[in-house]
């Protein structure tokens, strides 16, 4: 009777001993191997020099007809790159009132001019956040020995925010022309002289696009299996085609799609993503569905220094699909008012304002809107957008009042209820949540409101999802689970009761 017990004890002791030894050996070896890792040997050679794009305003050279020596593309590119860097270090210097970087891009005597401004602004506690959005340089002269160049940069659009003691006192946009002399010193094209020849406040009068024919009856769309990752590896035109058929058959005429900033490659847009986007639009065209394309999804940095990068992103995408028949409208950003608190309301609004100008400068035929997350924000930039979009997830009882107030503030532009819906989740994390019937009821009611006020609409959303990325609603399980059940069709593909009220 004693034997087996003892044996069990022994086995346990030996096993735990082995376990402890194994763990110690594992730990020591992990530390050892960590200490043995170092820099990759190939980095010793410094073979790769990666240029990080930090400043990419739109640069359009006039045809090259300069005096002096004819220039080659490589030199012209170097001049451009150094010139933009000169602007970049200047913006940084005036923003921080520090002189770092200036001496690389301005000659000995030219940099004095910048230093004196920095000194003055530092003493007065003035800082300037600025960027240039557009350059239109002409090469005037390139010397025979290739060491000196003169350019005239016309219609430089400068955006500036002037702060006094950290509070914003002025926001200004100017269009100026500069004449600049460059010298090639130490491999840098440095600015020797810079003379502002013309300047005036920028007049942004982008064309207002007619929205008379706009009649959006649509839905926000993500595929069921890969929401918020529509253009990833799981991209399938077959699935999209099937879904668009459902949408079309339900009597809707449009979908709202999202282009994510990082996913599409930031300032250098990935061509394969663009290809997938175009394929999606092709499918939409096949089903005669219009597409409202929301840009800058999952993007939240509105800082002035990033504007040029953002604008290159938007420009590439807009330019790529602006002629597509399925395209209905541009939605600059989804729910930007949610970033007011963390990023500053002025920052966000200025960013949106300038982004609208940019999108309209590339595509002046499609209307532009902003997907505000509530009715209170909808009046912001109402004169810039072609139609006003807002989302509504609040109590239906207040909708009537909110719409009336909006119509009062915005009498001349169509209102699009761009997102609305009710989660039919009721379970562990939300025991008293809405049922499928409640959801159906909600959609029935809201469609009545929509009909009463003659709103255009896009509901949220076609499917119940099984996976919600953390970026969408955060990590909290009651939020995530609720977000999974906004669909008109459940995760098994069965139409929920609400499907009946998907359209009016």
């Amino acid at each position: 009777m004693v034997g087996p017990n003892r044996n069990i004890l022994r086995t346990i002791l030996i096993a735990s001993y082995i376990m402890i030894v194994a763990l110690i050996i594992y730990g020591v070896s992990a530390v050892f191997s960590y200490l043995n890792t170092g820099a990759d040997r190939s980095t010793m050679l410094h073979t790769e020099i990666q240029k990080i794009e930090q400043y990419l305003p739109k640069v359009e050279w006039e045809p090259i007809q300069n005096e002096g020596r004819s220039i080659d593309d490589q030199t012209l590119n170097t001049i451009q790159s150094n010139y933009l860097d000169a602007w970049y270090v200047k913006q940084i210097a005036y923003n921080t009132n520090k002189t770092a970087g200036i001496k690389d891009y301005y000659t000995d005597s030219a940099r004095e001019n910048l230093y004196s401004f920095i000194e003055l602004n530092k003493a007065e506690n003035t800082t300037i956040e600025a960027t240039t959005l557009r350059h239109n340089p002409t090469l005037e002269f390139f010397s025979e020995d290739g060491q000196l160049a003169v350019i005239t940069d016309r219609n430089v659009i400068e955006y500036k925010r002037i702060f006094k003691a950290d509070s914003l006192v002025l926001e200004i946009k100017e269009t100026s022309s500069y004449k600049i002399v460059f010298l090639l010193e130490d491999g840098f094209w440095r600015i020797r002289h810079m003379v502002k020849e013309l300047t005036e406040p920028t007049n942004d009068n982008p064309k207002i696009v007619s929205v008379d024919s706009l009649n959006i009856k649509g839905i926000n769309y993500y595929p069921q299996a890969n929401p918020w990752d529509m253009f990833g590896d799981a991209f399938s035109t077959d699935i999209i085609s099937k879904d668009f058929k459902i949408i079309k058959d339900a009597g809707l005429n449009s979908v709202r799609l999202f282009v994510q900033y990082d996913d599409f490659g930031k300032e250098h847009v990935h061509t394969e993503k663009l290809k997938k986007l175009k394929q999606t639009l092709d499918v939409a065209e096949a089903y005669n569905l219009g597409v409202v394309l929301t840009l800058f999804d999952f993007y939240g940095d509105y800082s002035v220094m990033s504007w040029t990068l953002n604008q290159r992103h938007a420009e590439t995408i807009v330019d790529a699909v602006k002629d597509h028949n399925a395209l209905l409208a541009w939605d600059i950003k989804n729910e930007p008012n949610l970033d007011f608190e963390s990023r500053g309301k002025e920052n966000v609004i200025a960013w949106l304002d300038n982004m609208i100008d940019l999108v309209k400068s590339v595509d002046d035929t499609h209307p532009v809107t902003i997907g505000w997350s509530n009715t209170q924000s909808a009046t912001i930039l109402k004169d810039k957008v072609d139609f006003v979009s807002f989302h509504y997830y609040e109590d239906l009882e207040d909708l009537d009042e909110a719409i009336k107030s909006m119509k009062n503030d915005i009498p001349d532009k169509p209102l699009v209820l761009q997102e609305f819906g009710l989660s039919s989740y009721s379970g562990f994390w939300k025991p008293f949540g809405a049922s499928d019937e409640d959801q159906a009821n909600y959609h029935k009611k809201i469609q009545e409101h929509i009909a009463t006020h003659g709103l255009q609409f896009m509901s949220w959303t076609l499917y119940d999802f099984t996976e919600i990325p953390t970026e969408v609603v955060g990590k909290l399980p009651w939020r995530k689970n609720a977000q999974k059940h906004f669909g008109f069709i459940d995760k098994n593909g069965a139409k929920k009761a609400s499907f009946k009220y998907i359209s009016n």
């Binding site: 003035t126 010397s143 003169v150 100017e174 502002k196």
Partner: protein, 405 residues
């Protein structure tokens, strides 16, 4: 009733007067620009004046070629005065301003004009070396600047001056795009060109451009040698005529000339030299056997010379070979030159050793005091019959079935 009317009247009076006061307030805050100048000369003190009767001191935003700033006001005699900071008033270009006032957002601009004054002549010239002949040129670029380091006004006269040989020229050029430039062409002659420039009485320093001769034309070569014997000792010196370009300029010192020598066996020997004052020389040691050389010189891919021929006479007609010490010591000599003098040390002698008609070894030695001795060691060349062939100065002698023991 009377009382009520009085109250009403009083109340109305207060109301009216308060309106009047409000209006007065409004007119008081009305700010207007008093300064009328919109053109200033650089360096001048610039003050923007606005009318203001209230102690309201708005900021003025101001931006010039290099940057922007905010300026605070001072109030003098009920006028708002903004002194444009010195770092802005001393740079040329357009300055735009905006008054930061809630109700009177005035804005405008003025222009700071360059002075007709030159303090420094920033001069750039290049390329520093050009080719004679009138097609190549160097470019003079001048950036005249005033004492405040501003470029001078458009169309400022600059005299571009240059001296070359007997000519001294001065040409008027005008600033455009902040600079003035001129292409200075070479003349037919090579030499040094001195360049300077002048504007509004201020002169630049002197710059030198080297005008080098153009590419060389064909030339002739000659050879000089102490004697025409193939003694493998003396040196033949080749030299070119004075190499010139098509304008008759002597090519630059250091022009590289290659002499190709083709001998009777069609082998090519090569020797090189660089020119000094147009003449390049190169040397080659005499062959040690009778030979005919044909020599042509080239400046690579530019020009070539005529061909000359040289003949070298045989100096050694015959030589003696002695086998001693069991045929293991082979002495060759005396090796005698054209006057029967002993050949100078260093003549190559080659010994081929054959066993059973197989070449087993080749030994080479150079002559010393007219003799060459080969010693065949027993440890290496075992006893037996060998064939030998000995060659020197283009002659070969064979010795068959020599027995070593």
């Amino acid at each position: 009733m009377q009382l009520k009317l009085t109250y009403l009247f009083l109340f109305g009076l207060i109301l009216v007067s308060s309106f009047a006061m409000v209006q007065q307030n409004e007119s008081a805050t009305k700010i207007e620009l008093l300064s009328t100048d919109t053109n200033f000369e650089v360096g001048q003190t610039i003050v923007l004046k606005f009318s203001a009767s209230q102690n309201d001191k708005p900021l003025l935003y101001c931006s010039n070629s290099y940057g922007s700033t905010l300026i605070s006001a001072t109030i003098k005699n009920e006028t708002l005065e903004f002194l444009i900071p010195e770092n802005m008033s001393k740079k040329t270009g357009v300055v735009n301003w905006k008054l930061l006032h809630n109700t009177n957002a005035l804005s405008g601009k003025f222009s700071i004009q360059p002075k007709a004054e030159v303090a420094t002549m920033e001069t750039y010239i290049g390329p520093p070396s050009i080719e004679a002949g009138g097609t190549d040129y160097t470019m003079l670029v001048v950036i005249p600047t005033d004492s405040l380091d501003n470029p001078v006004p458009q169309n400022t006269l600059v005299n571009a001056k240059h001296q070359f040989l007997d000519s001294e020229e001065s040409e008027a050029i005008y600033t455009n795009n902040l600079i003035a430039f001129k292409n200075i062409y070479s003349k037919k002659e090579s030499g040094r060109m001195l360049i300077s420039s002048e504007s509004l009485g201020v002169n630049s320093k002197e710059f030198t451009i080297n005008v080098a001769a153009a590419i060389p034309t064909d030339f002739t070569i000659s050879a000089a040698r102490p004697h025409d014997y193939a003694d493998g000792n003396q040196i033949t010196t080749f030299s070119t005529s004075i190499i010139k370009d098509k304008q008759n300029n002597v090519v630059s010192d250091g022009t590289f000339v290659t002499f190709f020598i083709k001998n009777q066996k069609q082998n090519i020997l090569k020797t090189t030299g660089t020119t000094i004052n147009g003449v390049a020389t190169a040397k080659m040691i005499h062959p040690d056997f009778a030979d005919d050389w044909k020599i042509t010189a080239y400046v690579d891919s530019m020009s070539e010379s005529n061909s000359i021929s040289l003949n070298y006479k045989q100096v050694i007609e015959d030589f003696e070979v002695a086998f001693e010490d069991n045929n293991r010591t082979i002495t060759i000599g005396p090796l005698q030159s054209f006057m029967q003098q002993m050949i100078p040390d260093g003549l190559y002698v080659k010994l081929n050793i054959y066993k059973d008609n197989q070449l087993i070894d080749t030994l080479t030695k150079t002559s010393f005091n007219g003799y060459v001795t080969f010693k065949l060691k027993p440890a290496i060349y075992q006893d037996g019959d060998y064939n030998f062939s000995i060659s020197t100065a283009g002659l070969t002698k064979e010795f068959n079935s020599k027995k070593l023991w």
